[in-house]
Subunit: 149 residues, 2 copies
DNA sequence: CTAGGTGCAAAGTATTTGCAACGCT
DNA sequence: AGCGTTGCAAATACTTTGCACCTAG
């Protein structure tokens, strides 16, 4: 029976919503619960598919709105902060990215300046490492001033 | 005068195309040259905008095709391998991603298992680090077998 | 000469928005 | 009761595709 664990999730979710200052609705509750039990990195469509089996009348737009709300509130994260459109890497030097979580600006930082030199070769499960791409997430100087908190 | 440097780029580009086994066309040449002088992480639209000032008749579709060709041939990279659609991170533990460059599959790896613990705090330019997101790019076990080379 | 490349327009996918009805607080 | 939330349909953004014509090799 998942009843008890869902009961627990309901409590957690109410608390989360209170903190974030948003309303607790049945749709949000169900999207939250389904996300909690989904593994991997589901797309809005996949979430929609599962949620619809519990709330047949829900719309995809609501799922999108809810996911965005969760991300803004810090309840969940998105896999990549720069997923919007195709972007070409024009910098040929080995480098990583400073990504501002506020304004989404991306700045390059030379690999050696960042000083991260992880192990090469084969990982335990047979994954063959080619290279590392590091996103350093944080606040750029500008956003630290404008959003002091 | 940029004439000389462009002359040089023309040479480089011909060599690149030869290696990749693709034809050298005026459109590809110009897209290549513009990408070389653009900074940051341009979108196809931005590239189109610049290229159009030199080849007014070029179509956005050609720019897309050309960018994809460049990426496949390894002439340029894309900023994020998982930019397609919004994906929700359901794994609450601190972790990073093993991304297969062949089949695009993403697997989680615990942060401590990867053993990468970079410095916290403030970077030289005032960027305030919150966390690191690492993509380990390579070939998963399956793709190593199917594409031995 | 011919295989591959281009431009156009149309189609496809992903996501957002305006608005009337509805439900939480 | 009032404002935020929902569902719908339409709009928008981004990207791909089919096809006739063109061009590099």
């Amino acid at each position: 029976m998942d009843t008890e664990i869902n009961q627990l999730r309901t409590e957690c979710f109410r608390a989360l919503c209170e903190t974030a200052g948003i309303a607790v609705t049945h749709q949000r509750q169900v999207v939250y619960e389904e996300l909690c039990v989904m593994h991997g990195h589901p797309s809005p469509e996949e979430v929609y598919g599962r949620v619809r089996s519990r709330i047949p009348s829900i719309s995809l737009a609501t799922v999108y709105k809810t996911i965005h709300l969760f991300i803004e509130s810090g309840v969940f994260r998105e896999v990549s902060l720069h997923h919007g459109t195709l972007r070409v890497e024009t910098n040929a030097r080995p480098h990583h990215h400073l990504v501002c979580t506020q304004c989404k600006a991306i700045r390059d930082i030379d690999a050696e300046e960042l000083g991260l030199t992880p192990a090469e070769g084969q990982l335990s499960d047979g994954f063959l490492v080619q290279r590392y791409a590091v996103d350093v997430l944080g606040l750029c100087a500008g956003c630290q001033k404008s959003a002091p908190q």
